[in-house]
Amino acid sequence: MATPLPPGRNAAQRIGRRAVLLAGGLAAVGAAGWRLARGAAPRRASVFIARSQRYDSDLVKTISDGLAACGLKAEHLRGKRVLLKPNLVEPNRAIPHMTTHPAVILAAAEAFRRYGARVTVGEAPGHVRDTELALDESGVGEALRDGELQFADLNYQDVAWRPNAGRISPLKGLFLPRAVVEADYVVSMPKLKTHHWVGVTASMKNLYGVLPGIKYGWPKNVLHHAGIPETVADICSTVPRALAIIDAIDCMEGDGPILGSIKPMGLLLIGANLPAVDATAARIMGLEPARVSYLKLAHGRLGPLDERMISQRGERWPSVASPFKMLPYAHLQQLRADSGSPPA
């Protein structure tokens, strides 16, 4: 939302160049179980969907079940550094469905701790320079104190430069905060929302929030000028091993990602391949994944979008689908699965 220009870049024209993917690696999980893929996108991935979830229900069990269903085992996580990355883009007490609910963060932390991991929560709020205020307004600060969790302010941490492993945008490299570089796993924990420029924001777009404001600004306008879909794909290519846990219990529809309306769904989505998880989320929202610009870029490079290549664990997505309201603009309406347009 931050760029003054609506998205108009033709990503397809600029991605004919060879994309060298996954130098940083993304975790790939198939029916055969957990494995790490470096240098190649997984052809298959698993996505776990849990329904009838509430913020006061046993989310630790749900998340643990989901991780296990996607092939994650204790041996992968014991002693590892896990960075939980919620979405705290512009927290506001009056709009709690804008940001990842503290209960989901605490539950994920507990689930990973039970695996023997060392857990930190980190975020670089995209629109707010005062991170303490963001933690207050979201309720996450209080939750972190209750859960005795360390917080990494990714906007101001010391940074390290890493080559852009995606090379889809013109950016040669990305500056990443220390907590991201040092993490064995970065767990993208977005709130499932519509996005008034790119249609949907879930686990991939949420990783914009690992890039530091101290280098990219508030908003992270460097990324917008380099192309939102392109930089989303680049960040996901460059960030070390990533997992996704989507808070889709109370979602946002309409004028997301800030001012939309609450859309109760009662879902958690979990997976180790971000494009596959986000493609499933898009289908649940009534959108065609291949029409979402950054998912289209990710397809075949970072993971599968094709339903036939995504193994559904837990609930199947058609049983929980409920179309999200989209603003009445052509660039958003054409994303709808029922729009009649061929996939972009």
């Binding site: 939302m1 931050a2 760029t3 003054p4 220009l5 609506p6 512009e90 506001n92 709009i95 629109h127 707010v128 320079r129 005062d130 991170t131 303490e132 205020l133 933690l135 207050d136 990494a152 302010d153 990714l154 906007n155 101001y156 941490q157 010391d158 940074v159 008034h196 404001g213 101290i214 280098k215 990219y216 600004g217 508030w218 908003p219 306008n221 460097v222 917008h224 000028h225 004028d255 800030i258 001012l259 603003l327 603009y329």
Partner: protein
């Protein structure tokens, strides 16, 4: 009322000026520390972060964000503000060459303008300053550069005047400021304390009569409280004080924040902002025409 003197002492003793999350000195905390110490009357200690900023100034005149990061260079604005303020208060020209080089760089640096879009409410063609090179002009860096260039004596330059217009343009219809957008796809955005405080601080004494300024002051006055996070509290108080609107309780809020009653201000950045907000604003910001310190408040406001 012991926390403020203790905070000034700790700030004076600091040898690194950091954000909470970082181990290394950064330009913004150093600049605010220099300003806070100067406003508190400790010129000798204020000179230390100011000299450190001079040491990391680049040949171009720009100042990067930290000791290790030359880029982006928006803190050039705050370094210039600190150097000019220290020189003015001391009545000397110790940092004159630093100020001149920084001003030259700043006047040449331009945020990227964009063709007006029906989807965006603000005037995208106004040129101010950006967070990073070759990106759009945004509210907060434009405020910082206007403050810095005015302190350095460039207040009548067209760039500075255009910057002031940009700041007014970025105020929300009902008052307050978001990070910089105003209306997107027909919907006004939500105001926040820190950018609003910085904006009205910058507009103090600028002869601007736009009704959104008064609405912004009202937003700050009804929103800031003792529960407000440290940086936002400081910027809200600075903005209100510059217009003679500081709430009666502000001194106690700042004292409590410095005292760690809620959470300690563990970084030099937050400590500097709170110390500065506790000083009479006209000690360091001559453009502010109606000033009250946190210690001498106006109940009518």
């Amino acid at each position: 009322m012991l926390a403020l003197p203790a905070a000034i002492d700790r700030l004076a003793a600091a040898r690194r000026w950091r954000y909470r999350a970082s181990d290394e000195s950064a330009a913004e905390p150093a600049a605010w520390a220099a300003l806070a110490l100067a406003a508190a009357g400790d010129a000798a200690s204020a000179a230390r972060p100011a000299e450190w900023l001079a040491g990391i100034q680049q040949p171009s005149g720009a100042v990067g964000v930290s000791a290790s990061q030359d880029d982006p260079r928006w803190p050039t604005s705050l370094a210039m503000l600190a150097w000019a303020t220290l020189d003015r208060l001391a009545g000397n020209a110790r940092f004159a060459s630093c100020i001149g080089a920084a001003a030259q760089w700043s006047l040449a640096d331009r945020g990227r303008a964009a063709r007006q879009s029906e989807h965006i409410g603000h005037n995208t063609e106004l040129v101010g300053w950006s967070w990073a090179a070759d990106t759009h002009s945004w509210l907060e860096p434009t405020c910082m550069f206007v403050l810095g260039l005015r302190a350095a004596g460039f207040d009548r330059r067209p760039r500075v005047q255009e910057g002031v217009r940009l700041i007014v343009d970025r105020l929300l219809p009902d008052g307050g400021a978001n990070y910089g957008n105003t209306i997107v796809l027909g919907r006004p955005l939500v105001p926040h304390l820190q950018p609003t405080g910085l904006a009205v601080l910058t507009l103090a004494g600028q002869q601007q009569r736009d009704a959104r300024i008064e609405k912004s002051l009202n937003y700050l006055a009804r929103t800031v409280s003792g529960d407000t996070a440290a940086a936002s509290l400081a910027f809200a108080c600075l903005g209100l004080a510059a217009h003679g609107r500081l709430p009666l309780q502000a001194a106690a809020w700042i004292e409590a924040a410095l005292d760690g009653e809620r959470r300690p201000p563990t970084s030099e950045y937050e400590r500097a902002l709170l110390v500065l907000a506790a000083q009479p604003v006209d000690r360091w910001l001559p453009a502010a025409s109606h000033t009250h310190s946190a210690a001498t408040v106006n109940e009518d406001s």
